[in-house]
């Protein structure tokens, strides 16, 4: 023992002390680690806002006035040419901080053009129109850094696994649809989580399916996102996050918006919100069902299938959505009888018929009267009842 004691003092204890000192920085390291430094690092969010204000001032202070000057004047053209090199440099500066897929391509195009060229001018004009939706660059939303940071933490916990690290709908853990039967044809179909950046859309547009404003309004109301987060989308793996508080949902929505920062920042400040009428009481009346069937057969059957006679909806053939490997992402029209409806309340369904579903072939039907719409809903309700009572032919059952 006495022989061992000096060993303890000379080697083990100093080693322990060194280890403790070395491990100290590890314990003081708080705050979430980030996945993609460009998009996720919390310190970078501050940098991001600073950069973005640079971009904004560039747009509002130099480009817009010059464009305004330019209308029909020769001096303006000269002035613009003088500023071109400077602007080009500045555009290159902020290129990397813009949300992925949103404007990068656009800026690449811009940079490739010769300064002072008419094409360059057109492109700049295009670029500004894209950002402001022709709305004089009115600021609709500004991120609150703390809220965004909180939202980021929550996103990593609750959303990232499906919606992806970069919010582009590429799941960290891909999953097959739980509602589509696992036969050869439809097991190819995967439920595609929403892409918050717009990178998979053919026009690089940020699109949300279920919104309560006119179709042209971009991209959605905050309330629409809140609703979807709260109630989920039945028939897809998206659950309803009912246990989140209002504050938490707000934080999440704020963070989701940073994936397409400019799109959300400049938008229609006063969107036209559509409020659907209250459902009538006689939705289960036979007259309505028959009328609804007629309307369904002419308006909806082509895509949604003649469900009553055992025909499934056909897989959509449009190529609005393309994944990173260039494969089109198919959109499946709903089978009203057997599948849960993503927005299944009467008024929500009314909205979907009236306003259409963005980013899908489902068109808006502004000319369809309220009564006709309710007739169709009444028929859908009838179909669902029949399905539940086992009176409809379907390969699944």
């Amino acid at each position: 023992m006495s022989k061992l004691f000096p060993l303890g003092i000379t080697i083990i204890i100093p080693l322990g002390v060194i280890f403790l000192i070395l491990s100290f920085p590890l314990t003081s390291n708080t705050g979430p680690k980030s996945f993609d430094p460009k998009v996720f690092q919390t310190d970078e969010i501050e940098l991001l806002t600073a950069k973005i204000s640079e971009v904004d001032s560039l747009l509002t202070d130099s480009i817009l006035p010059i464009l305004a000057d330019l209308k029909g004047s020769k001096e303006g053209a000269d002035k613009l040419e003088q500023n071109m090199m400077k602007m080009k440099a500045e555009l290159a500066n902020f290129k990397h901080i813009l949300p992925k897929g949103q404007n990068n391509n656009k800026i690449d195009e811009l940079l490739a053009l010769v300064p002072g060229d008419q094409a360059w001018l057109d492109e700049i004009q295009d670029f500004i129109l894209l950002q402001s939706s022709l709305n004089n660059l009115k600021i609709r939303w500004e991120p609150d850094i703390q809220r965004v940071q909180k939202g980021q933490r929550m996103y990593k916990q609750l959303c990232m696994t499906c919606h992806g690290k970069n919010g582009d709908g590429v799941p960290v853990t891909p999953e097959k649809s739980v509602t589509v039967p696992a036969d050869a044809e439809s097991s190819v179909l995967q439920v595609r989580p929403r892409d918050f950046t717009g990178i998979t859309h053919k026009d690089k547009k940020v699109v949300f399916k279920f919104i309560s404003t006119e179709r042209e309004y971009s991209p959605a109301l905050e309330d629409d996102l809140r609703n979807t987060i709260k109630s989920g989308l039945p028939g897809s793996p998206m659950p309803g996050f009912t246990s989140l508080s209002q504050e938490e949902i707000d934080a999440l929505v704020d963070y989701i918006k940073t994936f397409a920062y400019l799109t959300w920042k400049y938008g229609n400040v006063n969107p036209k919100v559509y409020v659907s009428p209250k459902p009538p009481h006689d939705l289960e009346a036979k007259v309505r069902i028959d009328k609804g069937r007629q309307a369904y057969l002419t308006l909806c059957m082509a895509c949604h299938g003649d469900i009553e006679n055992g025909k499934d909806p056909e897989k959509d053939k449009t190529v609005d959505w393309v994944d990173s490997s260039g494969k089109p992402i198919p959109i499946m029209p709903r089978n009203f009888a057997f599948e849960p409806l993503k927005k299944g309340k009467f008024q929500e369904l009314f909205n979907s018929i009236r306003l259409g579903i963005q980013g899908t072939p489902m068109p808006s039907n502004p000319s369809l009267s309220d009564e006709d719409t309710w007739d169709i809903i009444s028929y859908i309700l009838h179909l669902r009842k029949m399905a539940n009572e086992g009176k409809l032919p379907h390969k699944k059952n």
């Binding site: 853990t173 739980v178 659950p239 009912t242 246990s243 009888a337 849960p340």
Partner: protein
């Protein structure tokens, strides 16, 4: 010491814990008792020279083994009977025994629990299903059938008040069940390290009365489901 037991089979688990605790306590007390006795009785003053005593070899084996076998049998009985009651029950058996039941499919995800409800018709994969994250609402005194799986990595569904813990494994679906005996709000956790946010993978377990459950279900299932 243990969280409150609110499931019908919780006492089986608690008993098992108690039995193991008592047995290990007995063995510990006995072993330490012998050591302390030996230290005092055979200390240097009273026993300056080492004495060796050899009894018949076989008797030592018998005493030790007999005790071990008895303890083992007690523990085996308690755990196997609990296991048989909780895990080794087929779905159809449970349904025919209880008749009334609630069906929930649980999918563990990084990093939340996703609870798929069968809706008003109580049938999975029909048109009135809905999914809720991080909140399991079930009625009291009703059989709840859980179908447990994972969407990504191994998670473990742990409801300490229900004395229920079972791994959620990707590609596999496991049937477990419980029947709650007390209303209230409790906690569900993930008991398998599953990634960076594992520590936040918590859900709420809400046991409500049957009437409350019915109205909640009605509200959640949406108007377009069949009443």
């Amino acid at each position: 010491m243990l969280p409150e037991n609110i499931s019908t089979f919780g006492h089986l688990v608690d008993n098992l814990i108690l039995i193991i605790f008592v047995i290990t306590l007995m063995v510990t007390v006995l072993a330490f008792g012998i050591i302390i006795y030996a230290v005092i009785r055979y200390n240097r003053n009273s026993n300056p020279h080492t004495t060796y005593k050899f009894g018949p070899f076989i008797s030592k084996i018998i005493y030790l083994d007999a005790a071990m076998i008895v303890f083992d049998l007690i523990i085996a009985y308690a755990s196997v009977s609990g296991w048989a009651h909780v895990i080794m029950r087929s779905r159809s058996d449970l349904i025919s025994e209880h008749k009334e039941y609630v069906d929930v499919r649980i999918i563990g995800r990084q990093f939340f629990w996703s609870f798929n409800y069968a809706g008003l018709d109580n049938k999975m994969d029909t048109n009135d299903d809905f999914i809720i994250a991080n909140k399991l609402v079930v009625p009291i005194d009703t059989l709840v059938l859980l179908n447990l799986t994972s969407g990504d990595v191994i998670h473990s569904f742990f409801a300490p008040h229900l004395r229920l813990k079972y791994d959620a494994i990707p590609g596999r679906s496991m049937d477990v069940w419980f029947k709650a005996t007390k209303t209230g709000s409790y906690e569900i956790a993930c008991a398998e390290l599953c990634g960076a946010e594992h520590y936040r993978m918590k859900a709420k377990l809400e046991i409500v009365t049957k009437e409350q459950y019915k109205s909640w279900l009605n509200e959640r299932s949406g108007a377009l489901s069949v009443r």
